[in-house]
Amino acid sequence: MKAAIIVFPGSNCDRDIAVSLKKISEIEPLMIWHKETCIPDCDIIVVPGGFSFGDYLRCGSMAANSPIMLDVIHKAKKGMPTIGICNGFQILTETGLLPGTLIKNDCLSFLCKTVSIKVENSNTKFSNLYSKNEVIDIPIAHNEGNFFADDSTLNKIKDNDQIVFKYCNNSGKTEKEFNPNGSIENIAGIINKDGNVLGMMPHPERATCQLSQLNDGERFFSSITESIL
């Protein structure tokens, strides 16, 4: 199995994703520069975190229009499992593959800490080894992680069970006070209607090694293997 990791100028989580995919998912990572126009044969596409194009204009807006993204959009629309983490999530919303958008944190500061998130939907390719309502600890590191969608889009997201992760406290309560960035409905991660494109602000790849003393991200990567095999 192979994974295509899209690398933009300013990506900085590409290597971490590659290590986790190799170690836990047992998937061979291929690093694909954004100026390429064709993604080689693979089983999953990952748009990693970072600050593509220095976050100029709007986070993810330049990257969403990079040459390689035409093929990412094409393949994702045909059902290719596709993940966007942090800046990758911002990029996927800018392409229209995922609904809504991500705006500045309501606290106006960059957030870099470990947060609790609740698994709202464990019936996806990327969360199938978690239990529904399970609380996991995953780091966040972002300035624009405040998910926003208009009411009609939000209702569709809820009706289709597209919310995968929500910010919560350590006992799974999802009140506003446990929301680090002002995200609507405490949304930390969503999936598209077809169930093959996931976007999330927290970094599961940062919760897969002994150094970080966090391992809740490991099942994210083993879920992928489970569903792709």
């Binding site: 204009l57 330049m62 809504g100 705006i103 106006l108 926003f148």
Partner: protein, 81 residues
Amino acid sequence: MKINIKIMPKSGVLDPQGKAIENSLKQLGFNQTGTVRQGKLIEIDLQEKEEEAIKIVDEMCQKLLVNLIIEDYEIIANKED
């Protein structure tokens, strides 16, 4: 000719930067301050005549410059250039 594009957050969309500016102005004693919203202005030079230039810039806005989920835009042609 120079075309300006004024991009503003849609009403109803949280604008924490505008809010922070509003609070700072009030703190400085500008008690007259009402709601403050922060947007951005982009200036583009084009060779085309006004009508064609506006058409092209509108396409630029739709494709890249504006996120229509959260932003409104206004294209202003600079007659002096």
